[in-house]
């Protein structure tokens, strides 16, 4: 071949490479975070329906938990539409799959806001996904309702945190353990932001309350090999394990726990990410009598809960359990509806201004929105896994706890944020 044809081939290759890299950089720049001066996203409120975005992992390691949250959101939308919609407009759900991949969450959040022009988004589960989408919602001034318990130390003008913050879940759980005399703790968690932050808080509490942390171990998300960690836990002489593992890891951990001879009586495990759905996936054989810390259980008494469980099971199957994040997702839509109707508009600034003091007789008990922190007053409940796979409450905090994401009201937490 002559030199000319080789150079033409080279030219073509070079040009296409240049074009491809230019296109890729342009795509990359779109999702880069520039939270300084973003123009507010123009949500589409013309017409008889408005779109709401649902952003959950429908595949990947977190699907085990997030698919049920997605189902609850769809149920709430169906019920709200059946009773007339919001401000006379019906809601249309637009679902995007975050696929348990945090950059995908950010990308899909942007799609929902800019392409689908949703009026509000409901979803996320892991703190990593929430942290990935936070700059997107702040940049476009669009609202996210986050339904899962998390590690606190965060506030965003464009996120409403419907799940518990640390002083509504972790701190009451530590109070309970202290009261039971279980003062030597081993901390086991998945290696990402929530367990790391939660364990910092636990260590600060322990120091101030005379409890000891005898060990701390992290496993990568999705890890399924726990023999070493369980061996260490067994050797440590701990009274209880505080478990912040998430996803598939919990299954492997509890199977290993049981086969090592540890029991809920000899060394109870208190988990903050195991709800009724996870009990079903792991099996009561491995979880019986173990402890959980949430604000809602399927067994929580009350007419609102009976109605919710009945509606969910009628829609998705009689054997389907309901859990705390599912309930928080369900009420997040109703809370947003109340805010919009109080504000008389879908406009984000007006909705935020109307949010403080909104109350709901929720399946978990009375919840009230705290407009200043954009969190919600919630009752803390400690539960025990029963032989039937349901979680029974063994203690609750009496009345709803005021959310304190930065733990400002706790002197021992002053070094934390």
């Amino acid at each position: 071949m002559s030199g000319l044809s080789i150079s033409r081939r080279g030219l073509l290759a070079g040009a296409s490479a240049l074009g491809a890299s230019a296109a890729l950089t342009a795509c990359g720049a779109k999702t880069g975070s520039d939270t300084s001066s973003g123009t507010a996203a123009k949500a589409d409120t013309s017409g008889s329906t408005v779109k709401v975005g649902l952003l959950n992992s429908l595949s990947g390691t977190m699907a085990i938990s997030e698919v049920t949250v997605h189902n609850s959101l769809l149920l709430a939308i169906k019920e709200i539409n059946a009773s007339g919609g919001v401000l006379g407009k019906k809601l249309k759900a637009v679902s995007q799959d975050g696929a348990s991949d945090w950059p995908t969450f950010a990308e899909k959040a942007e799609t929902l806001i800019t392409d689908d022009k949703v009026v509000a988004t409901f979803g996320c589960w892991t703190s990593a996904s929430r942290k990935a989408v936070k700059p997107v919602f702040e940049r476009y001034k669009s609202l996210l309702f986050y339904p899962v318990q998390y590690e606190g130390l965060e506030e965003s003008p464009y996120i409403f945190y419907i799940g518990a913050t640390t002083n509504q879940q972790i701190v009451p759980a530590l109070d309970y353990l202290k009261k039971q005399g279980l003062t030597r703790l081993y901390l086991v968690g998945s290696d990402y932001v929530f367990p790391r932050t939660a364990n910092k808080i636990i260590k600060a509490y322990a120091k101030a309350n005379g409890m000891t942390v005898v060990g701390e171990d992290y496993a990568p998300l999705g890890s399924t090999e726990f023999s070493t960690i369980v061996n260490k836990v067994k050797d440590s002489g701990a009274d209880a394990v505080f478990n912040t593992l998430n996803g598939d890891s919990n299954v492997a951990f509890f199977k290993e726990y049981k086969s090592s001879g540890l029991t809920a009586k000899s060394m109870p495990v208190l988990s903050v990410s195991i709800a009724e759905e996870e009990v079903k996936s792991i099996g009561t054989q491995y979880l019986e009598d173990q402890l959980t810390a949430w604000n809602y259980y399927e067994t929580t008494p009350g007419a609102a809960n009976t109605k919710f469980v009945k509606a969910y099971q009628a829609e998705y199957g009689k054997d389907k359990p309901t859990s705390d994040p599912m309930e928080a997702a369900y009420i997040s839509l109703y809370l947003w509806k109340e805010m919009v109707e109080k504000a008389g508009s879908f406009d984000v600034a007006k909705v935020k201004a109307a949010s403080d003091g909104i109350e709901l007789a929720a399946p978990e008990g009375k919840v009230t929105v705290d407009g200043a922190s954009q969190h919600v007053y919630k009752t803390a409940r400690i539960g025990k896994v029963g032989a039937d796979g349901l979680i029974e409450e063994v203690w609750n905090s009496g009345k709803p706890i005021k959310p304190d994401p930065y733990l400002k009201s706790y002197s021992w937490a002053s070094g934390l944020s």
Partner: protein, 295 residues
């Protein structure tokens, strides 16, 4: 001292799991140089077989025992089907096989999601296998891990016997050593390939049944194990059974020892670095076939 012994047993059990998942791959990767990225999904098929069986058989012990051969057949048939439909057309194109089998693995994961749902499912382990044996001095051996160790060794033994003593085994070894000469000698290599794939995938299915005792059972469970399986096969020497056996246990013990003194992430990194270093020094793996061919 107890700690060291307990961790050694942990290492051996990690090694046994690695061995089970890599055994089938030693055959398929070694036999035909086929990079089967769907191997993890055959493991998943075996695990789901246990789940489905438990719905009809109430006794956990019986269902586990029945699941072992059944999973072998189910996963093996899936493997043979894959070979017949796709892989046999791509023998001279290893990179294409990699892509094709990766695509098949994604399809199988979604199929599992559609049939069984996205969340994990639970199986009930027989009570005998949920306890442990105390051999004194604080050393406890978990029953499920002992079962997996026994199963892995049994599979290795069975495979060795098949390869060494049966006519099929002789044919398989002939095709591995020199495909052209085997064909010329009258061996139906296509049929041998399909049978090898059947056996290799069947072993993955058996691994899946064993893994229901220690891990989650869900559509993505295969992805947790596939990389480790390939590591064992490559380091052990492609197609070499004893290489895989030794590598699996060495890697398992190394992982366990490092995990105890550091963290799981650091241990994984060090193990991977060690593997890379070993392959730099000896790229053909631990054991290789010594042939007179120039290839």
């Amino acid at each position: 001292m107890t700690v060291i012994l307990n961790q050694t047993f942990t290492g051996i059990s990690i090694g046994a799991v690695l061995l089970l998942i890599a055994l089938g791959l030693t055959l398929t990767f070694g036999q035909m140089g086929v990079i089967n990225m769907a191997h993890g999904e055959f493991i998943m098929a075996g695990a789901y077989t246990t789940y489905v069986l438990q719905k009809s058989i109430s006794s956990a012990g019986v269902s586990l025992l029945v699941a072992l051969p059944l999973a072998f057949l189910v996963a093996g048939s899936l493997g043979a089907l894959l070979e017949w439909l796709l892989i046999k057309r791509l023998y001279t194109r290893p990179l294409d096989t990699l892509l094709v089998t990766w695509g098949v693995s994604l399809m199988l994961q979604q199929l599992a999601r559609d049939i069984f749902g996205a969340p994990n499912v639970q199986t009930h382990a027989p009570d005998l296998l949920t306890g442990n044996i105390s051999v004194g001095g604080g050393i406890t051996l978990a029953n499920n891990r002992l079962f997996i160790l026994g199963l892995a060794l049994l599979c290795v033994l069975g495979l060795t016997l098949v390869l060494r003593m049966t006519p099929l085994g002789r044919r398989i070894r002939a095709v591995v050593q020199n495909r052209d000469l085997a064909e010329v000698s009258g061996i139906a290599t296509e049929r041998v390939d399909r049978t090898t794939f059947f056996i290799g995938s069947g072993l993955a299915g058996v691994a899946g049944v064993a893994l229901t005792l220690v891990g989650p059972i869900g559509p993505t469970m295969g992805t947790n194990y596939i990389v480790d399986a390939f590591l064992v096969v490559v380091v052990g020497g492609i197609g070499q059974l004893k290489g895989s056996v030794i590598t699996a246990f060495v890697l398992g013990v190394l992982q366990a020892v490092l995990e105890y003194s550091t963290t799981i992430s650091v241990a994984k990194v060090v193990v991977l670095v060690a593997i890379v270093a070993f392959l730099q020094w000896r790229p053909q793996g631990l054991y290789t076939l010594r042939t007179r061919s120039l290839a």
